[in-house]
Symmetry: C2
Subunit: 312 residues, 2 copies
DNA sequence: AGGTGTGAAGCCATTCACAGCG
DNA sequence: CGCTGTGAATGGCTTCACACCT
């Protein structure tokens, strides 16, 4: 994402050489003074912060007051080092030897994510998906009230969906301005998506969530995120195929390994090997883990702690 | 998007890409010849391949027979070097001095993504979203026919949605086996998601697309990708906030920067920067969004070839 | 000339490992 | 002693730049 654009190079403090010297000649020359906290939060971390926030909200409702990085990371499906690193980008709000106060973390993450203000949403394209989105309670409950719905179909205009009447897209500028819409959701057929996007942009909307399977072209001060269901499916398909290949491989390799083993090979620790990558969702520690197909197991392997397979 | 794997993108979950960097010479020993090329395609590249495929399909329908990396990359919203690198992972199917044959590329990408076989889909949870998904034509048209629908609500059982009657989730194992379901879609309320996921897994489904805002725990031979709308919104929210900060920054810095330029600063190559890109999702986002520059331009930037912006 | 394919370099993110504080 | 916070190491992805083919 568009991160760190702007001024001179994003001076990341990763200068190995004389680091201690002055790390800011270029920047200074740029007219960009050292400036406040050079908080450059990695895009990947931002996405995870949103996940932590959801988990924390659940914990808070359950009355949990304090939590350690180990527990929170397990609940969020990442490893604890990553969680601590992510949290360190927003500040130091933990207590050593204890953990984090749930309430504090929620507040800080909300602040960083800009959730202290409300972001009204407009959904364009009230077909199946648009209906579902208009009715999706998760938006409102998380501070993103759906404030406007648009379509071109005359039969739909005026009909309330999820409590909001549908307006004609020709009124998009006026209505978005009136209702303070800051996020636009494109849920139209692909053929209409770019046009709708252009209209949203000229209506002043600077953030777009696109469900149409097209690559939207926008000015670079507009942020677009895309959700493409077919692409998600295809990625899963790829993994199915890869897994099938691997199964074949390991079946084939198994016999060879046995032969070699019986030949007297030494067994080193590093014979523990990672297999297919899992998708990382593994909550467990060992996030690194990727595991190998445990499949057909023929006695040559056993499943270890977190799914790793130990060759013996 | 947001992928759960952890990573990727999307929240992106970031997938620990297969660390298959294995040094396994053992393979040679096991009678397994060099085997085909140890094709380790980066997760991020897989997600983009799916995008290229969609663009190529459109081009093919328009009768385009050949295309260069420059053109294709622009249509897909990435830069040409990345596109060529991605394509190189699957082989060399281009003609130097000419470009790629659309038909060939489509076939090869489909092969790599495992799209030569059909992947039947089961949708669990026939609420608003489930309805939308069951009716979504993009699945069937791309080789992912929806073959089964499940819910627990008695009133829904037997009712056809998108042409498929809804079955009770208790029959999930039998029906998934009968219809050869290989991908499960979880579209239930969060409270039911883990249970539904467990049922899908025991029914033999090894790939899951999760729309519920919870982190699913699964065995590591199961692949989960997650689409979390609230998280997407929050990421956009973060960028709204960041942009606001930046606007203030650049207004302040503007005079300084201009002064330096006119002062004769040299323009290095690294001042060429990309417009916007997003990923993810983990990517990976995963999830990759993108945006291109075109315009509002304030004189400090001009749009370059493929959406890159050149600072001058 | 035109454009692909790819080693090499650079950048960013993840993971390690431990100092430091409660 | 436990757990956070973080420099340093590692590894993957992206970008560069050009050899090489047509």
């Amino acid at each position: 994402m568009t991160v760190q654009r702007g001024r001179g190079r994003g001076i990341t403090p990763s200068r190995p050489a004389d680091a201690v010297t002055e790390p800011m000649p270029a920047v200074g020359a740029d007219g960009e003074p050292v400036r406040d906290r050079a908080r450059v939060i990695p895009e990947a971390a931002v996405a995870r912060l949103a996940v932590y926030l959801r988990v924390l909200s659940g914990l808070s409702e359950q009355g949990v007051g304090t939590i350690s990085s180990e527990e929170l990371s397990a609940a969020a499906g990442v490893n604890s080092a990553k969680l601590r690193k992510d949290l360190s980008y927003i500040g130091s709000y933990g207590t050593r030897g204890v953990g984090y106060e749930v309430r504090v973390l929620i507040e800080e993450i909300e602040r960083i994510l800009g959730l202290t203000r409300k972001h009204s949403v407009a959904v364009v394209g009230i077909g199946n998906l648009g209906h579902a989105l208009a009715n999706y309670g998760g938006f409102r409950s998380r501070g993103f009230p759906v404030a406007a719905l648009f379509d071109v179909e005359e039969d739909l205009i005026g009909v309330p969906v999820g409590g909001i009447p549908v307006d004609h897209i020709d009124d998009i500028s006026r209505i978005c301005a009136e209702r303070g819409v800051s996020i636009g959701v494109v849920a139209t057929p692909p053929s209409a998506a770019q046009l709708v996007c252009d209209r949203l942009v000229s209506a002043g909307v600077r953030c777009i969530l696109n469900f149409a399977p097209v690559v939207l072209q926008v000015p670079d001060d507009v942020e677009v995120r895309k959700v493409d269901l077919a692409v998600e499916m295809q990625i899963l398909s790829f993994h199915v195929a890869r897994r099938a290949d691997e199964a074949a491989d390991s079946a084939a390799a198994a016999s060879g390994a046995l032969a070699e083993d019986s030949g007297g090979g030494a067994h080193r620790a590093d014979e523990v090997r990672a297999g297919a990558a899992s998708t990382g969702r593994d909550a467990g520690r060992g996030a690194t883990a990727n595991s190998r197909a445990s499949g057909p197991v023929n006695g040559a392997e056993v499943t270890g702690v977190n799914g790793m397979v130990i060759r013996r």
